[in-house]
Structure formats: structure tokens, C-alpha cells
Amino acid sequence: MERRRNERPTEPEGYVLTPEQEKSRRARNIAIGVAVALFVALFYFVTIVKLGGNVVPRSQ
């Protein structure tokens, strides 16, 4: 059957990453994710330590 003119091509458009580029991008994304999670955890614990026992009185 003949393909209609306005039908989207099945092949991906634009630049296709090589397996090596995909692999390194995935590794970088994981590293950024881990770093951000650790950064959030760091600030969480620092906040808890800095507030100390002052959390409860402020909420009363």
C-alpha cells in the first residue's frame, strides 16, 4: 500500500546518538541525579542540626 504524503516517517528525526554517546549521557545523568540527591540530603541534615530543639517551640 502506498504511504500517504502527510504520514510521519517512522525513522527518528535529527541527530541520532551513537551507543557510546547514549551510554556516556546516561552515566552523566545518573551522576547528576546522585549528586543532587546528596546535596538535598546534606541541606536537610544541616537544617535539622541548625534548628535543633527550636523546631517544636516555633510550632506551638
Binding site: 541527530y15 546518538l17 557510546e20 554517546q21 556516556s24 549521557r25 552515566a27 552523566r28 545518573i30 551522576a31 546534606l42 541534615f45 544541616v46 542540626v49 541548625k50
Partner: protein
Amino acid sequence: MSDASFILDDSAPRVPTAAPGDYLALLKPRVMSLVVFTALAGLLLAPTPPHPVLAFASLLAIAVGAGASGALNMWFDADIDALMTRTRLRPIPAGRLAREEALAFGLVLAVMAVFTLGLVANWLAAALLAFTIFFYVVVYTMWLKRSTPMNIVIGGAAGALPPVVGFAAATGSVDLSSIVLFSIIFIWTPPHFWALALVKRDEYGRAGVPMLPNVAGEDRTRLEILAYSLALAPIGVAPYLLGFASPIYGVASILLGAALILGAVQVFRLRSGEAARRAAMRLFFFSIVYLFLLFMALVIERLVHLSPWFA
């Protein structure tokens, strides 16, 4: 480039293939570990060290600030790094990372490190960290390194500041004890790097970096190494003499100082051939041991002194 030519440009986009390890290498982990260690010594000198969580966060911020300096140094020095065997496998000259990626990485980390230290500890420590990064990147890397054989003498201030930053993070001030630690590293830096420069003279010459042996000659360098080592040994004992280190530290620093001077005398006496090269490399490596053991002694005795802090 016009918009049309940009659209018509069918060359493949530059997609980085750098691994996380390449970004880690930009931070100069070995330098970072020394910075953390010396900053820890400064932090522990505080009469009342901060809560362990705050101390850890402060040291992490100082470490990341030092790493950011390393990344910015590699961004600026990529051209000369490619010319020296010691540095040519770094991520940028090896082609694994683009210079602009290192620049962006370094700037983002520097800003994050300074603000984190400001929020976690205090703004004096943050300002000192910002000054340290500025001094290393702008004053040393961009200006002094390629223009004067005094590059590492003045630039050494950047490497000497971490104990002052650590002390400021703990106390919000700067006092004599942290200045003494600064002085030890500041006076230690020239003989340490000049010993290496004696061996790597040709490489520095090829890269156009005016190290002392290339500019003033090897004999003058050997004399300067000896002079700085003679100055360093008594400064190394100063923490004991000024009363913020124990007699055990005092004895250790005297013995280590004597060994350092002995190494410098060897470098001064042996002037040619393989023996001279080996004497210089021995002094280079021993100077690392010297600084490490001095600060290790300070850290251990402060930890013992403050042991309830860990209870």
C-alpha cells in the same frame, strides 16, 4: 554565521562522551584531599569545633571549592597541559572534554561551594573561600604562572589558605594559630615545586612556564630550595612553641624539619647526573610526607583532646 548557514550546516552536533570520572578528574582529587586535610586541621584548632554534621558540610564545601579551582585551572591551562607528560592525559588535552564544559563546570561548582559554606558556616569563611578560588584561578593561573618565576611563591598563598578557611568556618574569625598553619604551607610550597621543576625543567621550558630553574638556573634554584627549607623547619615547630600543639608534635616537627633540611642539602650538593635527579625527586616526595605528617599529628592530637566531641 547567519541563521541560514546555521540551518544548512549539516555537520554532526558535538555531543560529549565524557564519563563522570572525567569531571571528577577536573577537580584534581589528590589536591582536593590535601586541601580537606589541611582545612580539617584548621577547623579542629577552634576552641569549640562545630557539630560534626556542620563540620562535614563545611569541609565538603571547601573541597568542592578547591575542586572548582582545579577545573578552572584545567580550563585555562589546557594548551600547556597538552605539552607536558605529567598533564597531557588530563580530560581536556586528551580530548574527552571540551574547554567550555570545564569552564561551566568549574564556575557552577565555585558558586555553589561558596554559597553552601556561607549558609552552613558563616560568610567570613565563604568570603575567604571565594578569595582562595579567585587567587588560584585569576592571580596564579591566569597571571603569575606564565609571567614570573615567582609564580608558585605568591601563588602558594592559594594552597595555604584552606586551614584559615577551616578555622574561620568553625569560629567566624581568623587568629594566630590559623596564620601559623598558613605560613607552614606557604613556605613549604616553593621548595616542594622547585624540587619537581629541577627534574621537569625541559617540560616546563617547552610549555613556556617560567619556573625558577629555567629562568634563574639550577644552581640558584638549589640555593633557594635550601633557604626555604631552612626557613620552613622552625616554622613547622611553631605550633608547639606557640602552645597549640603538644611536645610530641614538637619532637616530631623537629625531626621532620631536620630530615627536610638534610634532603635540601643533598639537592644543593648533588648537582649533576642521575644522583642529582634522584635527590630532587626524593626531596619532592619527602616534602609531601613532611607536610602530611605535620598536619596528621595536629589532627590526631586535636581529635584526642576533643574526644568527648565524638561521644
